[in-house]
């Protein structure tokens, strides 16, 4: 309705404009000629007003937007390229102001209403040489500085021997992060059908001993002041490895390896501390309700259009001190460990090995059916094609409450236990639990009940050892029926507990 009304208003406005314009034209026609002279005077003033508006607007943009831009660079080269960027923007800014002022001021000053004659002036060689040479010199300076930094970034000979190496492979719509383990060497990858399969997408050669301590992780962990070489690749289409805070970007190309070498200079905690001194970062985050700097984290994003869920390729990046890294690494389980047993049984049979990988982690789910919430949830978690979103919900099918109360019936235990094992197996997964009711009774009371029931489910899971931080409860009352509330059957369906995966 609002949309329609605004549409009508806009159309009417335009009709009025057209009529006014037409009228002004007719009057000027009566005067025999359109009155350009006075129009020029008016437009001269308007252009000056615009010029001022433009500068006021620019200043306002700086004030409002500078604080929300990315914080200062957290890598050695990033500090340099930011410096270059700032210098360039400063020069650009000066030229911008000078040229725009000249342009609009001349338009105003020399419009025909000023009562002067035009000056026949075809060219001036000196002037033209000057305004060719000055930009050339400035540009040469910028190029020189830029090249100096560019070659430093990509100078592969100057790389430290004790650098870290991490392999990042993009695929639709996820990143595969492989660490070389203690030996700092990756196992070989072989691109043939014997090696590549749904469970070994990278085509890792398990017979290469180097692969035996390689491990995968779901975040990038870097060490402060320790150079890292990112070995980049892609399986299916182009992706681009983008670490905004470190000023790192490099395309990931199927079939062609690329790399990027850089050194992080601030741990995540140090960056948080730095941001805690910045006014904007001290304001509260709308979702957490805490100062923004507290929830700051480095992130990895994809910067090359790679398909429909391109915008969902997020991974966390953590920068820590060496000791913390060592501890973290010691806790990682080598991929080989999970496949070894199968390898021993049937040496050389890669497929079998991979089948066992596929089965991992093996879940024991009691009484779960193919259409039940357990299977749906596991399938969703395992499917890399399906990104986390706010609209995919799964309904508990064997969870019941005492009528009108938030007390879970004993018969629900089996399904709740299954949920606990799923959550324990997939330790990254975080859930939102939503409560819903039918439309019988008072809407407010329903909302309260649904909220309490969702909380009861969360409490039951926490009681079994799931970290409360991974779960959020919310009641939605009677607003989202899944079936027709007119039938009893429908009402029963609408009374439910749903879950939505918020992280996997």
């Amino acid at each position: 309705m609002v949309a329609f009304l605004s549409f009508v208003v806009v159309v009417l406005l335009m009709v009025v404009l057209v009529l006014v314009a037409r009228a002004s034209e007719i009057t000027s026609e009566l005067k025999d000629k359109f009155d350009y002279f006075n129009q020029s005077r008016l437009n001269g003033y308007l252009l000056m007003v615009f010029l001022i508006l433009m500068f006021v607007g620019s200043a306002y943009s700086f004030k409002e937007l500078m604080p929300v831009m990315l914080p200062k660079a957290a890598s050695i080269h990033g500090i340099q390229t930011d410096f270059l960027f700032n210098i360039t923007m400063l020069i650009i800014g000066i030229v911008f102001v000078l040229t725009q002022v000249a342009l609009f001021y001349f338009a105003y000053r020399y419009n025909e209403s000023q009562g002067h004659e035009a000056y026949f002036y075809t060219h001036n060689n000196t002037l033209e040489v000057i305004w060719t040479v000055i930009p050339s010199l400035v540009l040469t300076g910028l190029i020189a500085m830029g090249m100096f930094e560019w070659f430093r970034i990509f100078n592969s000979e100057a790389r430290a021997a004790d650098k870290m190496v991490i392999e990042v492979t993009g695929k639709q719509f996820n990143w595969i992060l492989r660490y070389p383990g203690k030996d700092n060497n990756f196992g070989n990858r072989v691109f043939d059908v014997d090696h590549i399969s749904p469970t070994n997408e990278l085509g890792i050669d398990w017979e290469d001993k180097n692969s035996h301590d390689d491990f995968m992780a779901d975040k990038i962990v870097l060490v402060k002041n320790k150079p890292v070489l990112m070995k980049l690749g892609a399986l299916d289409v182009l992706h681009s490895f983008y670490l905004p805070h470190f000023r790192v970007k490099m395309d990931c190309v199927p079939g062609i390896p690329t790399e990027f070498y850089f050194t992080p200079t601030m741990t995540t905690v140090e960056m948080q501390q730095y941001l805690s001194t910045q006014p904007w970062w001290q304001t509260n985050h709308p979702e957490t309700g805490e100062p923004r700097w507290k929830s700051f984290k480095y992130e990895l994003a994809c910067a090359e259009l790679c398909g429909k869920s391109h915008y969902g390729m997020q991974k966390e990046v953590l920068v820590v001190e060496q000791a913390e890294y060592d501890e973290w690494q010691s806790k990682q389980v080598a991929m080989y460990e999970t496949v070894k047993s199968t390898l021993a049984e049937k040496p050389g049979k890669v497929e079998v090995l991979e089948a066992s990988l596929a089965a991992k982690p093996s879940l024991e789910l009691k009484g779960a059916t193919e259409v039940g919430i357990e299977s749906q949830l596991v399938a969703f978690i395992n499917d890399d094609q399906r990104a986390v979103d706010k609209t995919t919900w799964f309904s508990f099918d064997r969870l019941t409450f005492e009528t009108g109360k938030a007390v879970i019936k004993a018969e629900s235990k089996e399904q709740l236990d299954n949920m606990v094992s799923i959550l324990k197996t997939y330790s990254n997964v975080e859930l939102k639990v939503g409560g819903y009711t039918d439309n019988v009774g008072d809407a407010k009371a329903n909302l309260k009940l649904s909220n309490e029931r969702a909380k009861a489910v969360v409490a039951a899971l926490v009681a079994e050892g799931i970290d409360a931080k991974r779960l959020v409860a919310e009641g939605y009352g009677q607003d989202h029926p899944v079936a027709d509330n007119k039938t009893d059957e429908g009402k029963a369906k609408s009374k439910r507990i749903d879950i939505c995966v918020t992280k996997k």
Binding site: A21, Q39, Q100, N111
Partner: protein, 606 residues
């Protein structure tokens, strides 16, 4: 009557074709030959213009749709579902359709509006008129050029209505995303992309034969006395644009044909070791990067194909309305020439972070920043033209001034992007979006508007409404800055994101997204002021009085032809040129037409 001297043999061609009197010497025209399959450059110009306006509205509308998604990622608009059906289920544009929208928006605006619509309209209208020719070198090929363009348009338009939707892998069509015909990889990479490729093929053919015709016409059909250095800057611009097009479009054609080979015949030009769902596909040995080289070998010159005609138009409009010669005519010609040459050796600045050899990156940085120099010269010369002029701030002049303002703003940010070390961070972020929309998108539109308002009387014998035009100007100027200026602050924000909700890092600009979208909607609506004005004025605009009418007091030849648009342009002999086109405010005269012989003792300029 003229004699065909050796020096001006081309004049004879004009005669042979039309006789001495264009008014009476041709066969009866039917509706079909006059309005549809016309070989007359003026009619073809109008066809390009009106097709361009159509595409402009479509392309603009698409951008409004995806801007709505960007500004309100969590809201639903049931009305969208009413119109778009499955593409906006539940009133929310799906991610697949979002990418189709941005892809088609880019393709339509870059190729169908700002290349076809802009170059097609003004090259066709002005080349014969301003060089004093009866028509294009080949009217037939000119007609074909439009109909190839039309066919391309139809194909592209149809692709919106197929099951899997139009192409959705970006206007740059990078493989492998667009190189696999698998709709599981990308919905739009099915039939949608084939139609895109087919449309582009027709488009390229249209552009190529059109350009060859423009070049041939400018080189051969100039009237007596119209030496190259007496050509208005518009003609220089169209000539150089056509040369760039002829040299660069074939690379894109080759690129797209090889891409279709990969897609349809399973060749591996661009594909190597592709793994989809854990299955290794059979492609071996190709390189996705090769396509990018081919694409940008056209793609970069393409941006100049768009902007150079606009530059030409603006140069002419500024001079006419300042009542003052263009400042530095020779420098203006030479700088377009420099841009022409350099535009072929900067393409890899779009590929700094593809894993390109760093040495190559350095070379391309050098050339890229070099191209800023001729661009700067042009800007200074436009400002120099305004200086001490007697400027009539009519709508065309306002748009020309707006063009210069936009071109400065957008060109300057190119200097940041062109420096490869800085581009590592800026590549594929909103900073790039801001850069090219300001320098190319908005600027070229301003050039086009300046041209339409200025030459409308030449096209239709009537004036456009001035008041409406000025309102259109201010709304567009202010609105465009509101849309694109703030984007320069989004230096870290990746472009082509459906929503930023998955990242903490990118969630700081949500309020700005709403502002930008509102501004975009206003600017879009403001364009209807132009469209209404345009069509209204065709029928009801203020009529030019008298048989000859030169509403802006221009010196160039198009104003020496009768208001009535004759086949053959001039009723009697072709005009003869005696001087350069910028004799404004000289010798005590406000302007001296190019056809006026030099007085004894008068010094030639230029």
């Amino acid at each position: 009557m003229q004699t065909a001297t050796a020096e001006h043999a081309h004049v004879a061609t004009g005669h042979g074709h039309h006789g001495h009197d264009g008014r009476h010497d041709h066969h009866e025209e039917t509706f079909l030959t006059k309005y549809i399959f016309s070989q007359d450059h003026k009619m073809i110009s109008k066809q390009f213009l009106i097709t361009g306006i159509f595409w402009g509205v479509v392309g603009g509308l698409l951008s409004i749709l995806f801007r709505i998604q960007l500004a309100f990622p969590n809201e639903t608009f049931p009305i969208l579902e009413t119109f778009l059906g499955k593409w906006a289920e539940g009133g929310k544009i799906s991610n697949e359709f979002y990418y189709a929208l941005v892809t088609m928006h880019g393709t339509i605006l870059v190729f169908f509006v700002l290349t076809g619509g802009l170059s097609g309209t003004f090259s066709n209208l002005l080349i014969p008129y301003q060089i004093g020719a009866r028509d294009m070198a080949s009217g037939f090929i000119n007609m074909l050029s439009y109909w190839f363009f039309f066919t391309a348009s139809v194909i592209l338009f149809l692709s919106f209505f197929i099951q899997t939707g139009p192409a959705s892998g970006g206007w740059t069509a990078y493989p492998p995303l667009n190189g696999l015909r698998d709709t599981g990889v990308n919905l739009g990479s099915g039939l949608g992309f084939d139609l895109w490729a087919l449309a582009m093929t027709f488009f390229i053919v249209a552009s190529l034969i059109g350009s060859l015709n423009y070049i041939a016409t400018v080189l051969n059909q100039r009237t007596k006395g119209m030496t190259m250095l007496r050509m208005p800057l518009t003609i220089w611009a169209f000539l150089f644009t056509a040369v760039i097009g002829v040299l660069s479009f074939p690379a894109l054609l080759a690129g797209v044909v090889l891409l279709e080979f990969d897609r349809l015949l399973d060749t591996s030009f661009y594909l190597n070791n592709i793994v989809i769902n854990g299955q290794l596909l059979g492609y071996k040995g190709g390189s996705p990067i090769l396509f990018q080289h081919l694409f940008w070998f056209l793609g970069h010159p393409e941006v100049y194909i768009i902007i150079i005609p606009a530059m030409g138009i603006v140069s002419e409009v500024l001079a006419v309305h300042s009542r003052k010669p263009i400042f530095g005519y020779t420098a203006m010609v030479l700088s377009i020439l420099a841009i022409l040459v350099l535009s072929f050796i900067v393409w890899a600045h779009h590929m700094f972070v593809t894993g390109l050899n760093p040495n190559l990156g350095a070379v391309f940085t050098l050339f890229t920043l070099l191209i800023a120099i001729p661009s700067a010269i042009k800007v200074f010369n436009w400002i120099g033209t305004l200086w001490k002029g007697k400027i009539r701030l009519s709508t065309p002049a306002l748009f020309a001034i707006g063009f210069v303002s936009m071109f400065i703003t957008g060109g300057l940010t190119g200097i940041a992007l062109g420096n490869s070390a800085i581009d590592i961070q800026l590549h594929d972020t909103y900073f790039v979006v801001a850069h090219f929309h300001v320098v190319m998108g908005v600027s070229a539109f301003f050039g086009m508007f300046a041209g339409v308002y200025h030459w409308f009387p030449r096209l239709y014998g009537r004036m456009m409404n001035e008041t409406l035009g000025q309102i259109h100007f201010y709304a567009t100027l202010i609105g465009a800055y509101c849309i694109f200026f703030p984007m320069h602050f989004m230096t870290g924000l990746p472009r082509r994101y459906y929503t930023y909700a998955n990242f903490d890092t990118f969630n700081n600009f949500n309020h700005l997204a709403v502002f930008i979208t509102v501004a975009a909607i206003i600017v879009f609506l403001a364009q209807f002021l132009f469209i209404v004005n345009f069509f209204y004025s065709i029928f009801k605009g203020r009529k030019l009085e008298g048989e000859y009418n030169n509403p802006w007091g221009g010196t160039t030849l198009e104003w020496t032809a009768p208001v009535e648009r004759l086949h053959g342009n001039w009723p009697g002999d072709l005009p003869v040129v005696h001087r350069w086109p910028y004799d404004y405010s000289v010798n005590g005269r406000e302007y001296i037409p190019q056809t006026e012989p030099m007085k004894p003792g008068e010094v030639a300029h230029g």
